[in-house]
């Protein structure tokens, strides 16, 4: 499953992603395999997604979120 499949309040661990498919800035902000991610909230039209990655609150589009594989905890 990917971040895009999470529902509000779900917590997960990032397992893998293809580096070339996601912005470097996101990696620098803590999107790294092994780090935690929580779906805080979806925007009213279900996109973008408001996340807490490794302690940083940020929003990304669903398109990017669906590139990041996670394991739910």
């Amino acid at each position: 499953m990917t971040i895009a499949d999470l529902i509000e309040g779900d917590k997960a661990i990032i397992t893998s992603f293809i580096v070339d498919e996601i912005p470097l800035k996101l990696i620098e902000m803590g999107c790294i395999a092994g780090n935690s991610v929580e779906l805080v909230q979806s925007a009213p039209l279900k996109d973008p997604l408001y996340l807490n990655i490794n302690g940083t609150f940020l929003a990304i589009r669903k398109e990017t979120a669906s590139q990041i594989l996670v394991k739910k905890i």
Partner: protein, 655 residues
């Protein structure tokens, strides 16, 4: 003799970097430019001790030194080029205490450059309420540096930071040594993959460094943010609140700036009169009173509106609310080829397109950014207002028509709506026609909510207003002077012998009428009059005469020049003291004796000004931001041809 140290300030966005800069430098700061690019360079002086002062440079906020934008590139250049004029003696990395993990990534990168690097951990004041504890001594050992725990909000720890800076020679220069050089020479990886591996390594280092020295009791005080988010990004209330705020901002903008604008207007009118009456008569006095003073007045009059708009915008940014708006609007804006981040440029555009277009820089996706840059000038900027104001009061009858709303206000509001509609629709068309492939990247930090700091808001408003006055001001002033020269001199004998020609032709007139006849004859045959007549055939179908033509031409430099030009044309053309409006009302077409500014011409002018690209400063900034002439030229011709066609159709239908 006091010593001057160069200190560079760097940090993630939303860490209070600018607050620290403002605290250290106060009013001793200035905004300049790095050579060749439009990134603002903020520097300021600060006294560290009795004998040592520092020149502090505030580098653009960045999450890392892997530069991906022009702003970030500057930071890398300043910190890594030993020959750079701004190369610092010390670097201060400022970090947010709540998110040390992420902030230390930048710290490790800076530290590896081999400069004395001090870590300033900000927001010390929230540590207790968030349950955060740090073992500073142990962390200093892990990170091989000096740490200052500060609060820019409560003004805590600044003296300690200064002491550390004075004693910078004792800071070890050893790098964190996390950069694994084998990554950087691995040919099987591309640059981004190398940067990914490098980032992973650094995060591992940070994790170990923080392991025992940084503790957070998790379940403390998380509720406020979540509760506010639920309301502010709610699918109904979220939009409702946003549009209510927007509406109130616009209303306040008008009401609050009305009085200072009137004051400025009469002040410059007074100055101009005074110069005319008290300085020795001659060419220079006329240039001063008819060219330079009204020219400067034309710039100063926009200061209240621009300052108020940036006051509201920086409060929205400072509180953290703007990120929520971006989050809320992204999906909708994307349907039109824009980004949620286009909201800020589009709102700023209602003051001035120049800072608005610069605000488009943080849009990651090139296509979305380009479309934002191209459509922003459609929004009704402050420079259009004087044009709208005078035309509306000339051609729209007073009174209430719609829901008790004043006719004039209604038309003005429709023009605002029209501007936004034109921006959104042209974005939609551009999105469908531009064949640019770029990844749909979009990352925005959702910072904590906080009370805006007065000093940050104040300096931000000051910077933005100054940038407008110096940037756009130079062009407006130059055009007013040029205009005056072109209207005061002319080719051929018609201009030079105006007096005798008119005297022969109108021998029966009394002295006063004769004077004004001579003046208007002179204007007609001046350089600018000749040019206005030359283009008259092409603007006649729009309902304009050659005098409007001149104003149209000069306002290609800046829209508000329109009013100034008409003022110049009509005051140059007659000596009586009636206001510009009354003069415009009296203007008639010489062939038909019908008023020039009638309803069809007025509407046609309003529409032309709503759509045409008449701002040299905007063209210049678009050229800089898009690295070439292609897009500014497409934008200028596209908008202006569209404006011409709309004005043409409206005049021909209404006429």
């Amino acid at each position: 003799m006091s010593k001057l140290l160069n200190i560079a300030l760097i940090g993630n966005p939303n860490t209070g970097k600018t607050s620290l800069f403002n605290t250290l430098t106060g009013l001793n700061q200035k905004v300049g430019n790095y050579p060749g690019i439009t990134v603002d360079k903020k520097t300021g002086k600060c006294k560290l001790s009795d004998t040592i002062s520092a020149e502090i440079i505030d580098l653009p906020g960045t999450y890392s030194l892997n530069a991906s934008s022009e702003d970030e590139n500057i930071a890398v250049k300043v910190l890594s080029e030993k020959g750079n004029v701004n190369y610092p003696d010390i670097v201060v990395v400022i970090a947010d205490v709540e998110n040390l993990k992420r902030n230390l990534l930048l710290y490790t990168q800076v530290k590896d450059l081999g400069l004395p690097t001090v870590l300033a951990i900000n927001m010390q004041d929230i540590m207790a309420s968030k349950g955060i504890s740090i073992d500073i001594d142990a962390l200093e050992n892990e990170l091989n540096t000096k740490i200052a725990l500060i609060s820019t909000k409560k003004n805590i720890g600044i003296a300690n930071l200064k002491e550390i800076l004075v004693a910078y020679k004792s800071i070890p220069l050893v790098p964190c040594d996390v950069c694994d050089t084998s990554i950087l020479i691995d040919k099987s990886l591309n640059k981004k993959q190398q940067q990914h591996k490098d980032t992973v390594k650094r995060y591992q280092f940070i994790k170990i460094a923080l392991e025992n020295n940084y503790k957070v009791e998790v379940h403390r005080a998380k509720g406020f943010r979540a509760k506010l988010d639920k309301v502010l990004t709610h699918r109904v209330f979220g939009y409702l609140i946003f549009f209510t705020i927007l509406f109130n901002i616009f209303q306040a903008l008008f009401i609050w700036s009305e009085y200072p604008m009137e004051l400025i207007d009469s002040l410059f009118a007074f100055l101009s009169d005074w110069a005319k009456g008290n300085l020795p008569a001659g060419g220079f006095t006329r240039l001063l009173s008819e060219g330079i003073i009204p020219g400067i007045g034309g710039i100063v009059i926009f200061i209240p509106q621009i300052a108020f708009l940036f006051l509201f915008l920086s409060i929205l940014e400072e509180t953290g609310y703007m990120s929520r708006v971006v989050f809320l609007m992204d999906k909708i804006m994307r349907k039109f080829g824009l980004s949620g981040k286009s909201v800020v440029p589009l709102i700023s555009g209602t003051a001035c397109a120049i800072p608005a277009i610069m605000a488009a820089r943080n849009i990651e996706n090139w296509k979305e950014r380009l479309i934002t840059i191209l459509v922003t000038p459609f929004t009704t900027c402050a420079a259009r207002l004087p044009v709208y104001a005078i035309i509306i009061s000339l051609v729209i009858p007073k009174g209430n028509s719609f829901l008790g709303m004043n006719n004039h206000a209604l038309v003005l509001m429709s023009l605002y709506v029209l501007g936004f509609a034109a921006a959104i629709l042209s974005a939609y068309i551009l999105n469908k026609t531009l064949k640019i492939k770029s990844k749909s990247y979009f990352v925005i930090e959702m910072p904590n909510y906080k009370m805006p700091l007065f000093k940050n808001v104040f300096y931000n408003v000051l910077d933005k207003t100054k940038a407008f006055v110096y940037g756009a001001g130079k062009i407006i002033l130059a055009v007013s002077i040029l205009l005056w020269v072109l209207a005061s001199y002319g080719p051929g004998k018609e201009f030079n012998q105006a007096e005798s020609i008119v005297k022969i032709e109108y021998a029966h007139l009394d002295e006063n009428t004769l004077e004004s006849k001579i003046a208007s004859y002179k204007l007609e045959h001046s350089y600018i009059g000749t040019f206005g007549k030359f283009i008259e055939p092409s603007i006649k179908p729009l309902g304009y005469d050659w005098k409007i033509g001149i104003a149209l031409l000069t306002s290609f430099a800046a829209r508000e020049v329109f009013v100034g030009t008409l003022a110049t044309i009509y005051s140059v053309g007659s000596e009586d003291e009636a206001t510009l409006m009354e003069k415009m009302k009296k203007e008639v077409h010489l062939d038909t004796m019908k008023p020039v500014f009638d309803f069809p011409t007025g509407i046609s002018l309003l529409l032309f000004y709503a759509f045409a690209m008449q701002c040299m400063s905007t063209v210049a900034i678009v050229k800089k931001e898009t690295n070439g002439w292609k897009w500014p030229l497409i934008q200028m011709f596209g908008m202006t041809i569209f404006a011409y066609l709309v004005a043409l159709v409206s005049y021909q239908v209404l006429h």
